[in-house]
């Protein structure tokens, strides 16, 4: 057998295993009522430490991260490293903020940020605005996962549209049937394969001269390139752009719908908190991947057709033993499909809870909600696939960048809202809209440059806004600053004018509620007469 045949054979065998696990997942801890939206979309809020840890790793550290981050360090050096401090900063914030979000969501039965915003500020309209922003930001995020998958499939030799559509169909059916249970189980498989891939990569670096020579050669290559901003260290003018990108990206994690789904599936507060302590392990894994960009540069790996996303798949093909390369390709493919599944579940819930149930069919039964969410999740995935097949893939990447700036504008409502209900609902909506406007206008003004500094497109060429003296600033942060100013100023004005405030449906102790607290159980029974998740588990097992 040739190397290529071994690669493809190992890859296909592992992917078959994945599909079987995905289908079987519906039977895992089979709930009494699989058609309840809580069971389908957050696993009945009953996942323990290990499941949550794998699931979070699976949904946050996606193939896009593992392919795009090394592509960035390969292309520009230190600036691409922003993803690592960004990931680390989110962990202590998760410990504090996500625990609060978990409690309030558990007590009120929220599945999404938008429901929380609506209840906290007494405004379904604000919830709908947050929901629409969330869905718009999520679809291109799913699309870039599929682009990463396409880059892997192309490297193995499955070019064209059909392999991609086949993969999307399989994962859609798994999600439709098994809900969050499928990505949760697959995350375990993915992490085992990914662990193997990282081990192989570290051994590979040791065999080809070690990190010392890798960085020496990479430094020489950066020095030879015409781009003044690249290098092993940040340029003197690069700090502002770097730090605002780190902070903006870290905050955005607390606003993306999919980031919440995994955490809401936790069975109690301590599960969330213990997971925050264990998440830096993923940060270290991401850091190792990022360093591989320098290895690829030092070894002179060249991207296919100038597409930097193919750098990692090509490096794997050239330097890994064939069977290990097959494992790595499977790991990357699953790492694209899991987040795509979780994101589509999150976007679907957002639609169901904040638009469908609020405006289209008030009083929809849990079964009708689950049905809507399941079909909506299909729509999101095929919509994303359609997006990358119908338009230039590079456009999806731009859309994802724009999506990041957009989602950041919901931070005052969904993140600061966890701390305070001080803001006025109208001020929050106005702040959100002005943040969106500022973000879009600034990005409209950013031309796209190619490697030699020539303008290749007039608009939406990135999210780094030039301040003129060589320094740049992340557009998302500028827009968020405007957003916060508008929100705060209008809140003061409206309060001074005595405008009617929305009724805050949450109480301070909602943010500290834990599983098993008696009020929680009573509330469950009061609201819909359903037995609590814990009772349902008892009756099953």
């Amino acid at each position: 057998m040739t190397d290529r045949e071994i690669e493809v054979g190992v890859f296909l065998a592992l992917m078959t295993l994945v599909v079987l696990v995905g289908f079987g997942a519906a039977r895992w801890r089979r709930p009494a009522d699989p058609y309840d939206i809580e069971e389908w979309s957050v696993g009945g809020r009953a996942f323990g430490n290990w499941t949550i840890w794998f699931l979070l790793g699976g949904s946050m550290y996606s193939a896009y991260t593992f392919i795009a981050v090394p592509a960035l360090t390969y292309g520009v050096g230190a600036i691409g490293w922003f993803a690592v401090p960004f990931a680390i900063v989110t962990t202590p914030l998760t410990f504090y903020f996500t625990t609060r979000a978990w409690s309030v969501a558990r007590r009120h039965g929220f599945l999404t940020h938008s429901e929380f915003a609506a209840a906290r500020f007494g405004s379904p309209g604000l919830g709908a605005l947050v929901a629409i922003t969330g869905i718009l930001a999520t679809i291109p995020y799913v699309a870039v996962q599929l682009i990463s998958l396409q880059a892997v499939l192309r490297t193995i030799g499955f070019g064209g549209e059909w392999p991609l559509l086949a993969a999307v169909t399989l994962v859609s059916v798994c999600t439709f049937r098994s809900g969050l249970r499928a990505p949760a189980l697959l995350s375990v498989v993915k992490d085992v394969l990914l662990g193997w891939m990282l081990l192989t990569a570290v051994l590979m670096v040791a065999m080809y001269g070690g990190w010392g020579s890798t960085f020496r050669i990479a430094a020489v290559r950066f020095a030879a390139s015409p781009n003044p901003a690249d290098g092993l260290l940040l340029p003197e003018t690069g700090h502002l752009g770097f730090l605002t990108l780190v902070i903006g990206s870290a905050l955005a994690i607390f606003a993306y719908p999919h980031a919440l789904v995994g955490m809401l599936a936790a069975k109690d507060r301590d599960t969330v908190r213990r997971n925050a302590a264990a998440l830096p392990v993923y940060c270290a894994a991401l850091a190792v991947m990022a360093l591989l960009g320098f290895f690829a540069l030092a070894q002179g790996v060249t991207p296919a057709d100038g597409d930097l996303n193919t750098v990692v798949p090509r490096m794997i093909h050239e330097y890994f033993p064939a069977w290990s390369a097959g494992i790595a390709y499977a790991a990357l493919s699953i790492a694209a499909l899991i987040p795509a599944a979780v994101m589509s579940i999150a976007a679907a819930n957002t639609f169901t809870r904040s638009l469908y149930r609020t405006y289209l069919r008030p009083g929809a039964s849990p079964a009708a909600e689950a049905w809507t969410s399941r079909w909506m999740s299909l729509f999101v995935k095929f919509g994303a696939a359609g997006l990358i097949l119908a338009v230039d893939p590079a456009f999806s990447v731009d859309l994802q960048l724009i999506g990041g700036v957009l989602i950041l504008q919901t931070i005052p409502a969904v993140f600061l809202g966890l701390l305070t209900g001080w803001f006025h609902r109208v001020a929050l909506a106005a702040g959100l809209l002005s943040g969106l406007a500022v973000g879009l206008v600034l990005m409209w003004d950013i031309p796209k440059l190619d490697a030699t500094g020539r303008v290749v497109a007039e608009h939406f060429g990135g999210a780094s806004w030039s301040l003129g003296d060589g320094r740049t600033i992340y557009v998302g942060i500028v827009a968020l600053a405007v957003n916060l100013l508008v929100t705060a100023a209008l809140t003061l004005l409206l309060k001074a004018a005595g405008a009617a405030e929305g009724r805050d449906l949450t109480r301070p102790d909602d943010y500290l509620a834990d599983a098993g607290d008696p009020y929680l159980k009573r509330l469950d029974e009061l609201i819909d007469g359903l037995p609590t998740a814990a009772e349902r588990r008892e009756s099953v097992g």
Binding site: P92, F242, I247, A277, P280
Partner: protein, 69 residues
Amino acid sequence: MAAHARSRSRHWQWLLLIPTAAPLLTPFTNRIEPTLLGVPFFFWYQFACALLATVVITVVYLATRGDRP
């Protein structure tokens, strides 16, 4: 009494500011030397931050574990 003890153990949460701020000190860590296993300081410093985050969060978790609101 119980409320008082709870608010004191809540103070442990302020420790979380350390791992939040540490990765953001890049203007001060933007240097090659000292290298570790050939990796420049700028990069291995963040590995140290990840370790620090795990340690601090574990400490805060253990110190506040008994809290029941």
